[in-house]
Structure formats: structure tokens, C-alpha cells
């Protein structure tokens, strides 16, 4: 498989990886939107207690179901491995709660293919479209600072679930952080590939739903401890 030149890939080989846990109310629309653009989707149902898996399957996704709840990092890793086994050329990690826009993902794919980048991270802090509360903004800025310091990569937004990763680079990813600390871990592992990369401005849509589901700020304490005592 050619890996370095910047040729266009078929959309049918560009897999969206969507970790999901109890997202039944929104995941159907999210999957349909991605499928309408012609991309295959793998939803990793992290042992949801609702019918997220069935809804995702009806919406056109391939569903991989964890037998026990492991956490978002583990679900992401499962989805990445599944997509690579299907022969994906690019992977797009995408949240199930509807906070990402498919236009941004396509823009990131275009950028990665046009500039021959190994991976592209979405960032909500490159422009001021995304409305974040002051405290959340502070915490996310701190997370980005921590990630910069521990990985040496100049990121503005470390905890954004929208990423585009070329398949050969995705093989560098082997997440051991099952819970939310994977966001920093994946940056570190992708950085080791020594491939060219970029950040891309994305608009994160905070709805009442995603705000209700989102991580509480207390969780940032857990993330920090996970990262420091691994």
C-alpha cells in the first residue's frame, strides 16, 4: 500500500471511528450524516445500557460491541484496530454525541491528502467560533499546555475528539489509557511516528445534550492522575 504520496483515496476506504456509550438519542443522526457522504463507519459500542448499538447499525454503521464497559480510550483503540483490519487508508475519529461537523472532517481529510500529512488534529481554539465557558476553557487550555509539555508537540486543543490519521501512522497508536487520559497518550504516540502533521480549526457544537454528557471538570483531576501515575 502506498503510504507517502498525497494521492486521493476512495471514500469507501476512509473509516470513521466512533466510540459510543449510551448515545442512543443522538447517534443515529450522527451516523446517517457521515454515511450520506459515503464514508464507512465503525461504532464501538462500549457496552451501552441503552440501544445505541442497534440504532447505529440501523443508521448504517458496523457495530463492534465490548462485552464490558472499558472506557473511551479502549473503545477508540478497538475501532482503530477494526478499521485497519478492514484495509482503511485513513481513519477519522469522531464523537458520537453530535458535537463535530462532517464538513470539518472532510476539510481535515482534504488537508491531510493535499499536504501529505500523517495526521491532523481538530482544534476549537484556532478561531473563536466555538463558545466555551470560562472554566472549561481554562481546563482545556491547561490540558493542551500539559500535552505540549509532555509530548513536545505544539497543540492548542488536546482534548478534541476529531482527528484524521493516515493508516500507516495509526499503527503507532496503542492506547493503554482506557479512560479519558487517552487524548494525551494518542498525541504522544502519533508524535513518535515523526510524520508531518497539522491542526485544523473546527467548530465544536455544544448542545444541551453534549453539555449534559460531557466530562465534568472533576474528571480532569482523574485524567491528570492517570497521566502521572501510569
Amino acid at each position: 500500500m502506498p503510504t507517502t504520496h498525497a494521492g486521493r483515496r476512495r471514500r469507501a476506504d476512509i473509516w470513521f471511528v466512533v466510540p459510543a456509550y449510551n448515545e442512543g438519542t443522538v447517534i443515529g443522526d450522527v451516523i446517517r450524516e457521515v454515511r450520506a457522504e459515503g464514508f464507512p463507519v465503525v461504532v464501538v459500542d462500549d457496552c451501552s445500557r441503552d440501544n445505541s448499538g442497534a440504532i447505529a447499525r440501523d443508521a448504517g454503521a458496523v457495530v463492534v460491541r465490548h462485552a464490558t464497559n472499558l472506557g473511551q480510550g479502549a473503545a477508540l483503540q478497538t475501532g482503530i484496530e477494526f478499521a485497519l483490519r478492514r484495509g482503511a487508508t485513513f481513519l477519522v475519529t469522531f464523537d458520537a454525541d453530535g458535537q463535530h461537523r462532517i464538513e470539518d472532517a472532510i476539510g481535515m481529510l482534504d488537508l491531510a491528502q493535499h499536504d501529505g500529512l500523517g495526521f491532523v488534529f481538530g482544534s476549537r481554539f484556532l478561531d473563536d467560533r466555538t463558545q466555551t465557558g470560562t472554566l472549561k476553557r481554562l481546563v482545556l487550555r491547561f490540558a493542551a499546555w500539559f500535552t505540549r509539555k509532555s509530548t513536545g508537540m505544539e497543540l492548542t486543543d488536546a482534548h478534541n475528539g476529531l482527528r484524521v490519521i493516515r493508516a500507516d501512522v495509526a499503527r503507532w497508536v496503542d492506547l493503554h489509557q482506557n479512560r479519558m487520559a487517552h487524548a494525551t497518550e494518542i498525541v504522544r504516540q502519533l508524535g513518535r511516528s515523526r510524520q508531518r502533521w497539522a491542526e485544523y480549526p473546527v467548530h465544536v457544537l455544544y448542545t444541551d445534550y453534549s453539555r449534559g454528557k460531557g466530562q465534568s471538570l472533576w474528571n480532569s483531576v482523574n485524567i491528570l492522575v492517570d497521566l502521572m501515575f501510569r
Binding site: 500500500m1 465503525v42 464501538v44 458496523v62 457495530v63 463492534v64 460491541r65 465490548h66 462485552a67 464490558t68 472499558l70 479502549a74 483503540q77 478497538t78 484496530e81 477494526f82 485497519l84 483490519r85 478492514r86 484495509g87 499503527r171 496503542d174 493503554h176 482506557n178
Partner: protein, 131 residues
């Protein structure tokens, strides 16, 4: 004294229960040696409490019981660390098993099997559980 008899019985029970087989040969041998030394020291401390007190004073600690408490705190923290490491290892094994099961199940559902799998499909070598 009654307390001495009770403590000695408890130590023998602990040695028998914890000294049983485990997987890693080196770890197991180390654990058993440590356990024997620990038991010997405990028996000694129970039978000759005054020696323990002398030892404590040698270290600048008041009573033998205080020395015992400090040693216990150190042993407890060490045991916590060992348990936490073990829990991490087990969690890793569960994760790998769950992942393998989930992927195989999905591929079976899709009607795929090893014969039709894409040739570029990577098979990640399972990393050993320990770090």
C-alpha cells in the same frame, strides 16, 4: 501467654495461604523467600518482645511496638503498590480479551473470516500484560 500463641498461629496460616503457587517463577520464589523472612521476624518479635524494644532503641524509636507500627506502615504501602500493579495488569488482560472478542464477533457478523480478510490487515502482536 495467650496472645503469643494466637499470633504464632496467625503467622503460620498467612505463610501457608500466601505461599501457594502463582505464575511467574521468579516472582513466586521472591515472594516466598520474603514471606519466610517476614514470618521468622514476626515469630522472633512475639517470643522476645524485649529484644524488639532494644532494637527499636538502637534505631532511636521509643518502644518495640512503635517500631513494629512503622514497619507495618511501610509494608502496607508496599502491598498497596503491588496490588495496584497487579490490578493494572489484570485490567490490561481484560481489555485485550474484550477487544479481541468484540472484533472477532463483528467480523463474524459481517460474514468475514480469516480466508477473506484483506491482505494488508495488520495483526497486532499481543503485548505482554506487564509493563
Amino acid at each position: 501467654m495467650l496472645i503469643q500463641a494466637l499470633l504464632l498461629i496467625a503467622i503460620v496460616a498467612v505463610v501457608i495461604l500466601l505461599g501457594r503457587s502463582s505464575k511467574n517463577v521468579k516472582h513466586m520464589a521472591f515472594r516466598r523467600l520474603f514471606l519466610l523472612a517476614f514470618a521468622a521476624a514476626a515469630v522472633f518479635a512475639i517470643l522476645f518482645p524485649h529484644v524488639l524494644t532494644q532494637l527499636a532503641q538502637l534505631f532511636g524509636v521509643g518502644r518495640g511496638a512503635d517500631l513494629l507500627l512503622y514497619a507495618l506502615v511501610v509494608a502496607f504501602v508496599g502491598s498497596l503498590a503491588m496490588q495496584s500493579r497487579r490490578a493494572t495488569e489484570l485490567g490490561r488482560m481484560i481489555t485485550l480479551n474484550t477487544r479481541r472478542l468484540a472484533i472477532l464477533e463483528a467480523e463474524t457478523e459481517l460474514g468475514l473470516n480469516s480466508a477473506t480478510r484483506s491482505p494488508s490487515a495488520p495483526v497486532r502482536p499481543s503485548p505482554s500484560a506487564g509493563a
